[in-house]
């Protein structure tokens, strides 16, 4: 795969330049150098919005509403996570290579079996929760079931993919050793592979829970209730004091879940999600019995959540929904290709939006991740003199709060805020997406930094190397590959999420999709969806390629 050019230019440099060109082209597409984008008339409104942050509405009534909405959002997330992890666990086994190859010993069938399961799972994964939500809304009407299913299906497919990767990356020799001593493969699978992979699976499930919380908030926007819904209502009626109360509730909810998840993962000894993608063995320091004691709590939580939101499960198979589903299928055929010419500029817009969003997210995340990860720097590494300097601590708290704020607030809400001061177009959408993902990427980056192998850094530092050089030679090279890998992963997510800012009119295929969904124009919808899927797979493919070539170098 080595091209002649790569002898002079390293692949990372090459891809870096391509990335910069892509960003420049996207900015051009966003109209940055061609037309006015800033709407100065909106600044007073933005100021009112910002100013309201210091005096949120704390009246009793609103606090009661907030509490209730928070509980709804939390319950959606719990139920959604539970179902997606269940789906993911079952489907994940069936689309893992090790299952087909070693357990079923289907050498020839393997290609058919596991590739077809993987291919099937790629579709629910490529479609954003919001589209699923709007779709279920059309069948089931406003019911908590919509939110739960909209989270469970795409997240289930994502979880399945990640679970299968975890299983495939788990050392296989103990499994083979047992199989080759005559143990039934399925027994051997449960006895060796699952215990080995268990902590990683659990750790990823926690991470999924963090994602579900954010997703539950977004789904509120389409009317599913909870905090997202309340936020949208207050934003539209310009009641900023209320808005900030809800923001703070979202902040507490997200922060609480993130902290709980991080603490648990730390306790389990699988501190970061990054371990999933590296082959470095993790230090585990918990006995299995303590893990098992978590299960009753989790089950009780799930039961309580289902009880709280009361999804109408009878709707799933009810004749009415079947009839509606049937209708949808019928009315969506044959596909209507008349609008296809329009799809091309919209696709370009969509990709440009995703590129801008990830550029914003990555650069912002990078800037904030280092101050946010100072727990580790404070602990005596860069701070050799050991003087009690408060400044880094203050910086740390601020950076973490900014990151939390960014990721807690759903992208479409950010986009609506940005729309005060920018004219509609893909730029506000990109900024909204960028801000939201900045919070997520920044946190992931900070985790990477905190999980750095410290001895090499200590060695550098002990040798009298100045701090700036420790950073340049020790921290950056060790973290950059993982930062890039995360950024590329996140780009794929951004691509899917262009749909949700499309909802608030940010443009691209997402806007068209949501329009067609709400006007029941299924014949055109199916074509747009097809285009979107193609685009998603394209972005996944590019990202995968870049990641592979970066890993190889």
């Amino acid at each position: 795969m080595s091209r002649p050019a790569s002898r002079f230019i390293s692949p990372s440099l090459q891809w870096g330049m391509i990335g910069l060109i892509a960003i420049a082209l996207s900015l051009w597409q966003a109209g940055l150098f061609r037309q006015t984008v800033v709407n100065f008339n909106g600044f007073p409104l933005l100021w009112r919005f910002v100013a309201a942050s210091v005096h949120p509405d704390l009246s009793y009534d609103l606090l009661a509403t907030t509490l209730q909405a928070s509980l709804v959002t939390l319950a959606y997330a719990v139920c959604g996570t539970f179902l997606s992890v269940t789906i993911g666990a079952i489907a994940g086994v069936f689309c893992s290579e090790v299952w087909w190859l070693e357990v079923l010993r289907a050498k020839r069938l393997r290609y058919f079996g596991f590739h077809s399961v993987r291919a099937i799972l790629a579709f629910p994964r490529a479609i954003h929760e919001l589209i699923w939500g709007l779709f279920f809304l059309n069948i089931w009407g406003l019911d908590p079931l919509v939110a739960v299913a909209a989270i469970a299906i795409p997240f289930g497919a994502i979880t399945a993919k990640v679970f299968s990767e975890i299983l495939d990356e788990t050392p296989r020799q103990p499994l083979l050793a047992l199989i080759n001593s005559g143990v039934a493969p399925i027994t051997a699978f449960f006895y060796t592979l699952l215990p080995q992979a268990f902590l990683n699976l659990l750790s990823y499930s926690f991470y999924r829970f963090e994602c579900s919380i954010r997703s539950a908030a977004v789904l509120g926007i389409i009317g599913a209730g909870g905090l997202g819904y309340e936020i949208l209502l207050s934003l539209q009626s310009l009641r900023y004091e209320q808005l900030w109360t809800f923001f703070y509730a979202l902040l507490i909810l997200n922060g609480g879940v993130d902290i709980a998840s991080a603490t648990l993962r730390n306790q389990l000894g699988c501190a970061s999600r990054i371990d999933l993608n590296s082959h470095r063995p993790t230090k585990r320091n918990i006995s299995n019995s303590r893990i098992f004691s978590l299960f009753p709590i989790a089950i009780a939580g799930v039961a309580l959540s289902f009880w709280y939101i009361q999804p109408d499960l009878s709707k799933i198979g009810s004749p009415r929904s079947q009839q509606l589903l049937h209708q949808i299928v019928q009315t969506s055929l044959p596909p209507n290709f008349t609008g296809i010419a329009e799809l091309i500029p919209l696709s370009v817009e969509t990709v440009a939006m995703s590129v801008l969003a990830i550029a914003i997210a990555a650069s912002g995340g990078l800037l904030l991740a280092f101050p946010a990860a100072q727990i580790f720097l404070l602990s005596g590494l860069l701070n050799r003199r050991g003087n009690a300097n408060l400044f880094p601590l203050v910086l740390l708290v601020i950076a973490r709060i900014v990151l939390l704020l960014c990721r807690a607030i759903p992208a479409p809400i950010w986009a609506l805020v940005v729309l005060y001061v920018l004219f509609p177009g893909i730029l506000p959408g990109a900024i909204g997406l960028g801000l939201h993902n900045l919070g997520i990427l920044g946190r992931l980056f900070a985790e990477v930094i905190e999980n750095l192998e410290q001895p090499p850094l200590k060695a550098l530092s002990a040798g009298g190397t100045p701090n700036s050089l420790v950073f340049l030679y020790g921290v950056l090279p060790a973290t950059m590959p993982r930062f890039l890998a995360y950024t590329l992963y996140r780009w794929e997510v951004c691509m899917r999420e262009t749909v949700i800012v499309g909802l608030v009119g940010a443009g691209g295929l997402g806007r068209l999709l949501t329009e067609q969904l709400s006007s029941f124009d299924y014949q055109s919808l199916i074509v747009t969806l097809g285009a979107f899927l193609v685009l998603t797979f394209l972005v996944d493919w590019i990202s995968g390629r870049v990641r592979r070539s970066l890993r190889a170098s």
Binding site: R105, L176, L178, N180, S181, G182, V183, Y191, T192, P195
Partner: protein, 246 residues
């Protein structure tokens, strides 16, 4: 009857891609024999052991165990044969994050039902057998420790205990004493050799003296070929020198 080979390898060549790891190997082992595999690093000892337990398939030639051609059997029969062959791997292949008792109990899995295996993962079953096996290898107190917290030599003994629990007719041991001190090596070799006189033992060893002491037959491997295959008493120091010559 007893002179029928329990394991026989007939003109086997085994390749990993382009690389030929074993060339034209033939050998017959009868029940109760204690065979040492010797040879320098990379000679193909581990490969031969994985060939004998059915993990690897020969590129050419044929491997028979208990009179059956290993690679033509239906999975079910293949498993039945494999249950009678216990292997101690050089890299041990224990499930690191399980407790010792589970790894020892893995020796039972060949005849435990799926359900029993699952239950045992949560509430260990058949503790008595496991304790006894661990006592035999000298670490009964480690029963409930996590396997990855054990020292290398202790883990090696867990792997041995697992095979003792499996109680197969043939034991294949790939350098089972490589990280044990002299006294422990002696004990472990004695356990492996003395449990039952009818049990066949095939053990790869780096230490020729140990091989001479405990085994009645030695097979010298060099670059994937059999250099000699003779009773231990007939192995001369020239043959050994030849074996390790660079």
């Amino acid at each position: 009857m007893s002179s029928d080979p329990i394991i026989s390898v007939d003109r086997v060549t085994l390749q990993f891609g382009q690389f030929t790891a074993l060339t034209d190997i033939s050998l017959h082992i009868v029940a109760g024999e204690r065979v040492a595999l010797v040879g320098s690093s990379g000679a193909g000892k581990s490969t031969l052991i994985r060939l004998l337990n059915g993990t690897l398939e020969p590129t050419r030639g044929e491997v028979q165990a208990f009179g059956q051609k290993l690679h033509q059997l239906k999975p079910k029969h293949h498993r039945q044969i494999q249950r009678q062959i216990g292997t101690i791997y050089q890299q041990l292949h224990l499930v690191d994050n399980l407790r010792v008792i589970h790894n020892v109990n893995a020796g039972h899995l060949g005849h435990w039902s799926f359900l029993k295996a699952l239950i045992s993962l949560i509430v260990p079953l058949d503790v008595a057998t496991a304790t006894q096996a661990l006592a035999q290898v000298g670490i009964p107190e480690k029963l409930y420790d996590r396997t990855d917290r054990l020292s290398g030599g202790q883990q090696q003994r867990v792997a041995i205990a697992r095979v003792l629990v499996q109680n197969p007719m043939v034991i294949l041991a790939d350098e089972p004493i490589s990280s044990l001190d002299r006294e422990l090596s002696r004990e472990v070799m004695e356990i492996l050799c003395n449990c039952q006189s009818s049990r066949t033992l095939i053990v790869s060893l780096h230490d020729v003296d140990v091989a001479l002491r405990y085994c009645d037959r030695m097979i010298g491997l060099r670059r994937g070929r059999i250099l000699f295959d003779a009773p231990s008493t007939a192995v001369s120091s020239e043959m050994i020198a030849d074996l390790y010559r660079l």
